[in-house]
């Protein structure tokens, strides 16, 4: 990977990024989702967007309690215990209140308009459905399902495949104000839109890493020249990294880890195969903004 660093330069005409007027965020009170909420509120504040909080009461859980053999296995309990539907209802309501309180707290901190809705149904479907009215869906990489530690959670997976909206998949421990932003750019309009969004996500003083994916030999110079014109004058630190032609998501992930940035911004409508992009999203343990213009 070659690397070059530039100072900022004059402003040129740039492709308009997708407008983000409302940001939906799924809240299930897991650590990832609380991180998502914070980032979503921050974004909403900077983009003057409305924040839509979504909490879904899992229909599967409710049905579960009605089955005669239903029992819950707890980590520090010696034996499985029966789940009472009333107790479950009460716990779900409690979680919803907790989610709403978290939303209100963040909204007050970042001073954004917000609304909160509680839905009941299949969680992935309900989240995607609720996000239809939003321009950006913010989710935790993984939620409360038991085995999705490394890869994406079911809701995130469903949103990737079932939603046409831009998606921000958040990761616990990420703090936007301290992190650099890395954007994957191959010269396509989608990747330029991703760059435009990435610029908006970047905090002053942080570094913007641009991973160039040249489509042919020498394309990287043209690409770099073209993209540098797209950068606004406020960005002082931009680092270009040129990647060899690659279509394997694991190799791509390795290059991205070498750059070791904070937020990864890309689009699944670039020249890269969508499957490669989705695999990359699944494999890499970074917060990811998938731009769909």
């Amino acid at each position: 990977m070659q690397e070059r660093t530039h100072s900022n330069r004059k402003n040129h005409e740039k492709p308009g990024p997708p407008e983000i007027r409302s940001i939906a965020v799924g809240i299930d009170c897991s650590p990832h989702s609380l991180a998502s909420l914070k980032t979503a509120a921050d974004l909403a504040s900077r983009m003057h967007a409305e924040l839509l909080g979504i909490f879904v009461e899992d229909i599967n859980l409710l049905r579960l309690t009605e089955l005669p053999f239903c029992q819950e296995i707890r980590q520090y309990s010696p034996a499985p215990e029966k789940i009472e539907s009333t107790e479950l209802e009460r716990m779900l309501r409690s979680q919803a209140r907790q989610a709403e309180a978290s939303l209100q707290r963040e909204a007050e901190i970042f001073r954004v308009r917000h609304s909160f809705s509680v839905r009941r149904g299949n969680v992935p479907k309900e989240v995607v459905a609720a996000a239809l009215q939003a321009d950006l869906l913010v989710l935790g990489r993984s939620g409360r399902s038991p085995t999705c530690r490394k890869g994406l959670g079911s809701t995130a997976r469903n949103a990737l495949s079932g939603s046409l909206k831009s998606i921000l998949l958040m990761h616990e421990g990420y703090a936007a104000e301290n992190e650099a932003v890395l954007v994957l750019c191959d010269g396509s309009d989608a990747s330029k839109a991703a760059l435009a969004i990435a610029i908006r996500m970047l905090r002053p003083g942080n570094t913007l890493h641009i991973l160039l994916l040249p489509q042919y030999e020498g394309h990287e110079h043209l690409l770099e020249s073209e993209l540098s014109g797209q950068l606004p004058p406020g960005i002082l630190r931009v680092e270009y990294h040129v990647l060899p032609p690659v279509s394997d998501s694991r190799i791509l992930a390795r290059y991205i880890r070498m750059a070791d940035s904070g937020l990864l911004v890309l689009s699944d409508r670039m020249n890269l195969p969508a499957e490669t992009v989705h695999n990359l999203i699944n494999d890499i343990d970074y917060p990811i903004l998938l731009v769909r213009s």
């Binding site: 859980l61 579960l64 009605e66 053999f69 980590q75 299949n122 409360r144 085995t147």
Partner: protein, 803 residues
Amino acid sequence: MSIPSALPPEKVYRKCDPAEFSFATTEELDGALEITGQERALEAISFSIGMLHDGFNLFALGPNGTGKETAVMHYLDTIAPDAGIPDDWCYVYNFEKPRHPSALQLPPGKACKLSSDMDRMVEALFSVLPTAFSSENYQAQEKIIRETFQDQQSSSIEEIEKRAAKSDIALIRTPAGFAFAPVKNGEVLKPEEFMLLGENERDKIEKEIESLKNAMQSVMAQIPKWQREAQDKIKELNRQIAGFAIRPLFTELTSGFGSIEQVSAYLDKAEKDIIDHFDHFLEKESTRQEFLPGMSAMKGSFFNRYKVNVLVDNGTAKGAPVIIEEKPACQNLLGDIEHLSQMGTLVTDFTLIKPGALHRANGGYLLIDARRLLMEPLAWETLKKALRTRQIRIESLAQLYSLISTVSLDPEPIPLNVKVILLGERMLYYLLSNYDPDFGELFKVEADFEDDLRNTSESRMGYARIVAAVAMEGKLCHFERSAVARIIEHGSRLSGDAEKVSAHMQSIADLVRETDFYARKNNRRYATAEDVQQAIDARIMRASRIRERIREATLRNTILIDTDSEKTCQINGLAVYGLGGLSFGHPGRITARVSIGKGEVLDIEREVEMGGPIHSKGVLILSGFLAARFGIEQPLSLSATLVFEQSYSGVEGDSASSAELYALLSALSETPIRQWLAVTGSVNQHGEIQAIGGVNEKIEGFFDLCRARGLSGKHGVLIPASNIDNLMLRSDVVDAVRQGIFSIYPVRHIDEGIELLTGIPAGEPGRDGLYPEESINGKVSIRLKEMALKMKKYSSESNGNGE
């Protein structure tokens, strides 16, 4: 018996001849202070300091101002710089028992180095450890451990989940755990759908779920164990990383202290402790603010444990320490453990241990004023305990007596090797010797300072050197040798002995300073004898208000003192009043009355409890004299009363006993006594006159009164002949003696005195044992005989009547 002649002027004042000094002014002297005339005390000091065995501590005793501290310091100044420099001491955190801070002994100057090195190292750890723990190597290893645990956990669950999926059963995360449920198209079966299934299928599902639950339960049971294993691995990794990161720092630090085993052991423990608590060094900058002096015991001041509390730093010492403790309170001797108030409670740690005088003097010498020491609660017991046990154990009095109840410390005792020198008055020394059994064991050497020095050329030169030293030290004007001579004469007067000079150097130094004041006022370059005299006179004048009032009352005849006529039964005795810094004499009228009685001499002062025991003893002695002289052939059929007229306060001492006897003889012989003469001196049962104190003041007191009324040439004072050597009279008295208008008669026996006072010989017994009739003794004898006969007659008449 012949009567004594009046003393010549040269006998009433011993002049110091300035010509004996080789210098013209004290400017020519080097100002070096030498202690003269205190050989006994200096020998004792030398012996005590030289004795290295237990208990040979020193008690320098003598009146205040005699130069005890100067003499001790003078000696110590000569030997302390050549003595070995003692080690440094510091307290450090005890990592095993935090309530018992450890004491470290280091070579001189090393304690501060250890302290600063530790501070620097701790400061460095705030960058070294975060760097080590944020390294890719550590992050990767820690991630592997965590992921291994999570993999273990999730793969076990995933296995069960896959097994469940084969039977169309889903593992569902509930708010508090997991549950299994049959699913169809990704959704849990509704109860009615489940009931529509065949019974066999329902049983099969239920059995399968039961089996899955058991499997899940066993995985759940394993999770804490896996967590523990992962934590242990991370802990071990942390230890490795921390140990690796800090080892170079400790290696460098340890190398600076060579082979000091105590320090090496301490540093090893500190290193282990830092490894165990590495996480504290990873905290943000704001929390490190607590690592500041003064924030010692505040909650969360974790890093204080790596501080070194230097109690004694001898890095710049030039020999053994010589410490003078001006306030020997318990905590000032032993040191103290201070506390800080925090949220209403008192907290402390080893950094709040403060050293005491014993710490500072350890390996050297400690000087303490005995009176101040004894005035401080428990300080004496504390000092004795430290000396007896040969160690300094810091104990809080408040804790000891449960005055406060809070968490405190019990620091490791420090070995004590100190020579304690107590400075105090004789009374204290003898009280302690008599009543404190420990005293003799711990203070085996006494340095007894003389009150007076022999008036020799050596001591006079010593005086001159003191005058020079005080003048130089205080930047005063220097003294002419005549002024020095006058100061020596004053020294003799202070000692009350012409053969001696006072050892009370404080008074001499004060006189030098006061003389400087008047010399400057008189625009002198060098202080003269006149300036010295002016200073002495001014000092007397300042203190003489009471003296003047008494004299004024006497001159106005409020106090009746006759100095012109002759009177029977009364005599002028002489008393000394001590008020503040001034002693002065004044005559007092003593009267005697006799009557027929049973041979009793009644002391009125004693009857009203205004007379002290010595005075009463004197009165009883004169009874013995009368009985021996006149009561052999006949019974003493008299009753006599004696009193100090117009005395409204107590009378003590026997210096008036001769005057009382003269008054009694006058009363018995009915012979008038010359009131222009005053008398002082005690008498024994043989009639011999014995020495008394304050003779100069007494003579001057009577002289002042007589002079005020007009000296006629007949005025004088009878003093004991044995007091001649004590005479150092004022110059005006000496002048009067020289002019013959005032006389001082040295008397050896009561018979000499009575002839001087009455002009009639006392008389000596003839061969028949009878005194000449016209002599005083003869008259007394006849009078007593008459009284005895009257008594006998009265008794026989009384007996006859009775019959």
